[in-house]
Symmetry: C2
Subunit: 251 residues, 2 copies
Amino acid sequence: MQRYFYDEMLTSEQFELPKEIYKHAIVVMRMRSGDKFELVTPDENVNVMELVTVEKNLAIAKKVDSFIQMTNLPVKTTIVCGLSKGDKADFIVQKATELGADEIIFFKGTYSVAKWDDKKRAKKLARLAKIALAAAEQSHRTTVPAISYCDKLENLKLASAQYGMVAYEEAAKTGETTNLAKLFEQLKKESATKPVALMAIFGPEGGLAPAEVQLLTQKGFVTAGLGSRILRAETAPLYLLSALSFALELR
Amino acid sequence: MQRYFYDEMLTSEQFELPKEIYKHAIVVMRMRSGDKFELVTPDENVNVMELVTVEKNLAIAKKVDSFIQMTNLPVKTTIVCGLSKGDKADFIVQKATELGADEIIFFKGTYSVAKWDDKKRAKKLARLAKIALAAAEQSHRTTVPAISYCDKLENLKLASAQYGMVAYEEAAKTGETTNLAKLFEQLKKESATKPVALMAIFGPEGGLAPAEVQLLTQKGFVTAGLGSRILRAETAPLYLLSALSFALELR
């Protein structure tokens, strides 16, 4: 069933479809009276809605059911990526949303060629928020990841009960194969009894500078290899999220 | 270091760069005499080559070192994907190559909207082979996955010592969370003592028809869910490969 997010709670019997949802449900998907869709409200509930009125520029639905669905990763996961060129940020946001990221932060790394100046940044972030929303609807999530920009890697800080890891190519090259598994074991154990979070950092194309890795290590981030091949900047976060889902959700 | 594949063994002291490698190394990367690159030969050895002569349309290198590198997944993995629209096949080939797939097969599923007619097919496959080659070079692999087309799902057969799995959305919806972990445990155990293979099947956009899943189950394929979100057709194979690498390469 088609799913949409709505940023307010349902307060009356009748729900008038907002413009964006009307455009997609009625114009694109050609839904008609009697058709159903899902509406996720800020309480993360999934409300099953049935269209009762469909007119030009006006559509009204009523709630016929509601349920709770667990679609978040067992660990609140923040993906932090260096700025890369082209549409790589779009790609990362779409795929990381599908794979369960709770927050996505972009930063300008030492080796980043791409730049988001102040003016461009707001537009970029608005565009990425739209991509995250569409991907969250499509992958049937009940939350939409927040997207933001961090000016300096120095400003990133681990919260309490938040673990940190850095995907480091050099770690992979030297055959480092145990850190990620150890970290996930720990996350699995702790998340069973209390809320735990993970912040995972990935360099831009060209990777992280040694000084950046050192800075992060001092802040408590653990370097980890992601298998025995060299992954592109936009592929590494997807590896991490897939492996995390496998290690913590499938057993 | 830049890596290239060469489909013959090195037989003499002097290696004249073939046209394609010349174009990339000399014209695009602007390598000059004294610069080094890696050349992977059919024995999967990585040969370190140093340029000794660089002229217009002629470049000669000599071998200065060679080494063996393990970049393949511990299990020979075949990814089988239903045809999807647009550039999704390009995407799957590039990412699955980075993530270690040994073979990639496309098939026309019951719900496939895209079609590769006979004429188009050869062109498509040649294009995908190029994408696989570039991705294998870029991710520093020592083998390039074979890309092919399968006309009928019925024709797919598991070889001996080859395990089969089908990513099935319905399995995920009903909360099936144990099959993939069980399968990977088995692969891990067996691959320690003998060569083992995996064939993993993914539907096109729109998924697999129940009859297709039934056919595959009868052939010995196990259905498995891939976490608690609905993944797009092109994302599911990347999840599988990432999880497989994590489960078998990182410990």
